[in-house]
């Protein structure tokens, strides 16, 4: 006798209808978007870390003085820096290094030693941190032509922007999750309404609410998982095929997954299934409680 096998209990609901198929499609689209939001968050995070790391512990002192006083003022600045707490090391850039810095703008033949260029002293902050204001006051006293340029002025907004971008990425992921939950709730309600007669029959022959709910929950969860798996695969493929632009691309090429970060998007399909499970179950039990 071809009676219902227990593992096929979702057969009590007629074969997949429109709501279930649309759930699959939407899950695929949302998973695709989720992969990009995830890539955005991770890339923004890397950018923020890189900027704050690389620039956090260096600063520059720029000395502009008449030709004759340049050496004395540079010595004075180095003296001050040696005795300033929070400065791990300091050294004056050589003429060659300064030429290399300016070369991209002025070409290789710049006569650095004959131009009234400022001298640059690079310092590295120690772990205890540098009190930039105190150092400025001391420099003003010892070497009037010296100006401290501690990078934080322009670094901070960049790091803040990258952090904000990372936040947007996570918010987008949250919104995608909420959109999936709402869409599946609507679809589940449509499926429940379309199968009202089936539900009534099941209830009359002694089915418990959880049995009826399970028939719907299984179907929606499976379709959401399938859809999200497809969408995630396409999203990852798209990320993998991003054209390589080298270092010059900067943030653009940074948008992608690096190393073990490739594991992150794999969490999207199970999460979509979890959302579908919770949304369908809640919708089904809510609807069933309204019946006798």
């Amino acid at each position: 006798m071809p009676a219902l096998r227990p593992d096929r209990s979702d057969r009590v609901v007629p074969p997949a209808g429109m709501p279930v198929r649309l759930t699959q499609l939407t899950s695929a689209a949302m998973a695709f978007l989720a992969v990009f939001a995830l890539a955005l968050s991770l890339a923004a995070g890397r950018l923020a870390d890189r900027w704050s790391d690389a620039l956090a512990r260096t600063a520059t002192v720029r000395i502009s003085a008449p030709q004759g006083q340049m050496t004395t003022q540079t010595e004075a600045v180095l003296d001050v820096l040696r005795t300033t707490p929070g400065v791990a090391s300091a050294r004056a850039l050589s003429a060659d290094e300064q030429r290399a810095l300016l070369e991209p703008w002025f070409g290789p033949d710049l006569p650095v030693d004959r131009l009234p260029l400022p001298r640059l002293v690079e310092l590295v902050e120690g772990p205890e941190g540098l009190d930039a204001e105190a150092l400025r006051l001391r420099l003003a006293g010892e070497a009037p032509g010296a100006v401290l340029d501690d990078h934080t002025r322009w670094r901070r907004p960049l790091v803040a922007a990258a952090d904000r971008l990372r936040l947007f990425g996570w918010v987008a992921l949250g919104l995608i999750g909420a959109a999936v939950a709402s869409m599946i709730t609507l679809a589940a309600n449509a499926a429940l309404a379309a199968n009202a007669r089936v539900i009534e029959v099941l209830r009359l022959v002694g089915a418990r609410d959880v049995f009826i709910a399970r028939a719907f929950v299984r179907r929606f969860t499976r379709r959401a998982l399938e859809g999200a798996a497809g969408g995630t695969a396409l999203g990852m493929l798209a990320m993998a095929l991003m054209p390589e632009t080298g270092e010059a691309g900067g943030f653009l090429t940074g948008l992608g997954f690096r190393g073990w970060h490739w594991l992150w998007p794999l969490a999207v399909p199970p999460l979509a299934a979890l959302v579908a499970f919770a949304a369908t179950r809640a919708a089904a039990l809510r609807m069933l409680r309204g019946l006798t």
Binding site: P2, L4, R5, L204, G206, R208, T292
Partner: protein, 225 residues
């Protein structure tokens, strides 16, 4: 098995049934009669906890309906076989699967009961229609499939609402005899019908009591049929 104690029911408007006091003991055979719209279906619904009384107390297998959780109601329905007036099936499943549906929803492995199912379909004369879909059945076949579904769980009580509603006289008698056989096997039976000929036909074979709905009350009818 089922006890009603000063039970009233109304669907929002005026009272449909009132002051019902009645008990259905195990192994009994009752007819429930009354004109269309008298409240026969409503009475049966009270008996299988699809409706809660608006006043009074209904106890099914000793348990107050009002105190039942939704799962209690589900479990109670597995012990009562109901042949509904508009016997509804799952139209995408075969007759055999529909008859086995109470087993499936109760989590029993239908394969373990394959023999019972085959016997049951043979008993109601649907063994050749086992693979048909419900919409392909005639009125009499639907009623017999509904009866088979009602008894597959081995219930102690069977409530049949107009089980001969849409069928010819010969088929009515056939269904009646199936129900009488079930009563001989010890099951309590309640048949709602407005067909007095059916009651007369039964009286020859079984000692049935007749309940009549009149003036919103359920009364025991005399031998004046």
């Amino acid at each position: 098995m089922i006890e009603l104690d000063s039970v009233s029911h109304s669907y929002g408007g005026s009272e449909l049934l009132g002051g019902l006091a009645l008990r259905l003991p195990p192994g009994s055979f009752h007819f429930l009669t009354g004109p269309s719209g008298a409240g026969k279906t409503t009475f049966l619904r009270l008996c299988y906890a699809e409706l809660a009384p608006t006043a009074g107390r209904v106890r099914i297998f000793g348990k107050d309906v009002r105190a039942m959780s939704r799962d209690d109601v589900a479990h109670t329905r597995r012990r009562i076989g109901v042949v509904h007036q508009d016997c509804q099936f799952l139209d995408h499943l075969s007759v055999a699967e529909n008859v086995a549906l109470p087993l499936s929803v109760a989590g029993r492995n239908a394969a373990d009961h394959a023999g019972d199912l085959a016997d049951l379909l043979g008993w109601v004369g649907l063994d050749t229609r086992a693979e048909a879909l419900p919409p392909e059945l005639s009125g009499g076949e639907r009623q017999r499939a509904a009866l088979a579904r009602a008894v597959i769980m081995g219930p102690e009580l069977i409530l049949a609402d107009e089980p001969t509603g849409n069928v010819d006289w010969e088929m009515s008698l056939r269904i009646l005899h199936l129900l009488i056989e079930l009563n001989r096997m010890g099951k309590a039976i309640v048949i709602a019908t407005h067909d007095l000929n059916l009651i007369r036909a039964a009286k020859a074979n079984v000692s049935a009591r007749v309940l009549r709905i009149k003036d919103r009350r359920v009364q025991l009818a005399g031998a004046d049929l």
